[in-house]
Amino acid sequence: MTTQDYDGPILEIENLSISFFTRLREIPAVMDFSVTVQPGEAVGLVGESGCGKSTVALGVMQDLGKNGRVVGGTIKFKGQDLGQMTMEELRKIRGCEIAMIYQEPMASLNPAMRIGKQLMEVPMIHQNMSEADAYERALQVVTDVKLPDPERILNSFPHQLSGGQQQRIVIAMALMSEPSLLILDEPTTALDVTVEAAVVELVKDLGKKYGTSMLFISHNLGLVLETCDRICVMYSGEAVETGRIEDVFDKMQHPYTQALFRSIPLPGADKNSRPLVAIPGNFPLPHERPKGCNFGPRCDYFEEGRCNSSKAIPMAHVEHGDRHESRCLKFAEIDWDAPLIAAEKKEKGAIGEVVLKIDNLKKYYEVAANAIFGGGNKKVVKANETLSFEARESETLAIVGESGCGKSTFAKVLMGLETATDGEILLDNKAVQNTAIEDRDTKTVADVQMVFQNPFDTLNPSMTIGRQIIRALEIFKVGNSEAERRTRMLELLDLVKLPREFADRMPRQLSGGQKQRVGIARAFAGDARIVVADEPVSALDVSVQAAVTDLLMDIQREHKTTLLFISHDLSIVRYLSDRVMVMYLGHVVELGTTDQVFSPPYHPYTEALLSAVPIADTSVIKKHIVLEGDIPSAMNPPPGCPFQTRCGWKSKVSGGLCDTEMPPVREIADGHQVKCHLSDEELAGMEAVIKIAAE
């Protein structure tokens, strides 16, 4: 390329508009979007799902599919207009000058091709490298992305690697020919927090090492804060605010940005004294956008006649800051420093009697080593090891841990979908661990209910909302007649704050948040006393998450429900739970009140988890701990302490105890237990991971 010594901006997008064309209509996905990426700069693109951020990325790649088309504006890469290029010229840029990292690493690697071949392909196409040279290069890049045993990795198929390793391979593939621009489309959404932290650090380091510019697409404000120099907030196809990270985070100039920050749980938010403020209303569908300002109908500062006049609202420069722009007519008039009008404070529900007691619960699975061809050695997966805890009435107990830690297995055993291998589950002093759900009486089934992670799959698509709730009522034997059940169903809709007309709607007519509300209504149909919420908000957008969490809290206060909140998101756990249980490889490594768990002394794993969670607050200073390696397989757990393979404190324990002996459960404060060999002095000497800098 002749543009090697080009020194202007790497990427200039000017007034870009992209539309998708269907038989019915043209659907504008991106409108009047501008962003500039300077050499070595990382720009974050933030917004909720459907706001058009991925479309921008594909637009840069000129890969919009059959229906998508750029209908206005230009995308210039190193001064050349990508829209004017032929397929041949584009191919030379793709993978060589601009590379992309995708959301789901498993899906973006070819399952039937060895890793090495997939990597070597890049330089062989772009630099005409010989196979041997390409192999050398692949080996070097795989070492760069810190994968162990690179030769073995190059010779394996994608499915033989873990999610984190796969993502590193995707990153390695993107870096093979040292591109000038890297587009990362939600690169860590499918990964666990500790793995995410490691991958993010890697991307940052490599970006520096190779001097690559980055376009980082994410819905996670915390992550963008950690990785990017500049940020561009998108809403419904438009950029609404753009500027340096510090300017946008601390001196935001658009109501949507402000609302977004108010709806995410930052340290200091509390469900009773400082509840989250959900953004009212719903995200507009692309063909139902309002006149004037897209955010108008949901905005607190909306002014009739001004914000909804039919004129398009342009981006306007903000006085302070570097290239800080906002798409709001009123940003100069709004008092951005006005304190949040405190929402009504809520009374904390009194915590009552113990309703659920788990004693030494164990759940083992036997799996054949070779599922298809049978035979082979049977292996035992120890999904849950000696779980012991109790949960009280109107208490929220959070169960935290990364994938594979056994939290969902526990939920299954509690629900009766699986029976326990050993130990007891006492529900009102009645042992239920060996009663499968079919054998449980109606009362027990109605008492223990679940809210599922993915509201999109858990509703029957061919039944109206009302019918599905009535069906649950029939199963729980609530009400004596159809009319009675219908009344009760309408009451349940009221309870979850859905309009009564929704009873006759089909699931596909509802948004994700609304579907989750239906899921909650169904769970509470038989006046459930214990509700297991398995990642109830992780599939929802940030602005909706707050509303759904608040709803759960409201219902809990009213019904004195015991809520078992399974989550990997520590921010939300900190916000809403009374007690927290941290799990790792089937073991409870720490259990205590929220304050005890979130402040030192920690279990080393909790410490790492806390450090890994990105926090969208510029005033927070975090201790930096990155865990090496992956979570060991539950089929083959390490001897001694389950966490010893990744623990940073291992050297502080004398006598190699961690390698050989399972640590005992120790009570280090009232109700605060830790499973660790560290001495009391070491534990007491731990520093807080999250500190809020003095203002």
Binding site: A107, S108, L109, P111, E121, F157, F373
Partner: protein
Amino acid sequence: MGTFIIRRLGQMLLTALCLTFIVFFMTNLTPNLEKLAKTQGNFRMSDEAVNSWLSDRGYLAPLPYKFGQWVGVVPGWTNEKTDNDGQTIVTGRCFLAATPVEDRARFCGVLQGFWGYSSVFKTDVDALVAKRLSATGKLMGFVLLLMVPMALIVGILAGMREGSNLDRTLSTFSIASTATPEYVSGVIFIALLASSKFGISPILADWGWIDTKTLFLGSAKKAVDDATFRNFFLPVLTISLYGMGYIARMTRASMAEVMTAQYIRTARLKGVSFRNVVMKHALRNALIAPFTVIMLQVPWLLNGVVIVEYLFAYDGFGRLLVEAARGNDIELLMAISVVSVILVLLTQLISDIGYVFLNPRIRIS
């Protein structure tokens, strides 16, 4: 892998045993046996004569006992009879009256390698089945050789750009070919290509482009021993076309799905050319699903073989089956069912093993 194959073989044996028992049961129903006695003996036999004919030949023994004889775990029947000269003649399942006493075997069934004697063809079953099977094997071999590459090419070309004109054309073609049964397409081919009065043969002969009267032969009788393009192409084409459409549709669907996969986008955005995206990245993944279908297609094609072999007068396995069924030829039918079961399960075994090789995700660790 070893245990897997052994398990599969065991399964195959069990299935063969069950199926042959059902066939044995059906062919040994009383009306069928009466029919057999009358066709083999005399059509005007009295009921007593039929009875004695059947009992002389061991047909009236209890069913499990007879089945045991066929398998070879129960001693074969023997029958002593005094003839007009006052001499006792001993006949049996396993020997003829002339066989010396010391050579007479007690057991003779499949386990001993004795497949029986065909009452219709008056010859040993094993040699007959082997000969016919090899004839049909030749036919099927050529069919697969023509059908599979054609189907895969059509399917991949159609699936790589879903919705394009090429896709529409090829899809219409494959639907039409599957929708036309063999007895229709076979007749059309004979009329168009193998008739000296109709179709293109007289025209070509007029122009002097062909030396013979017809372009192809409508009869494949000679192809059993000496297959040429001229006498063998039409039956092969008839079966191939029918099976091709189906495989092509499956391949197209699989290819179209693979082309929308994320790793194809990855490859495209790596700068791989379209040709290489298809050849290197999509092809292998797209072949995983159709491979199973192709292997399942083989036993299914056996149906088609019956019709086509009749239509083109080809002496193969299909014709054998029809003739054996018509004459209630018990032992021949039994042998045919054993062969069919083995054929079906063998193709499944091959398909499972081949699947493992194509799909690294389930490769044995």
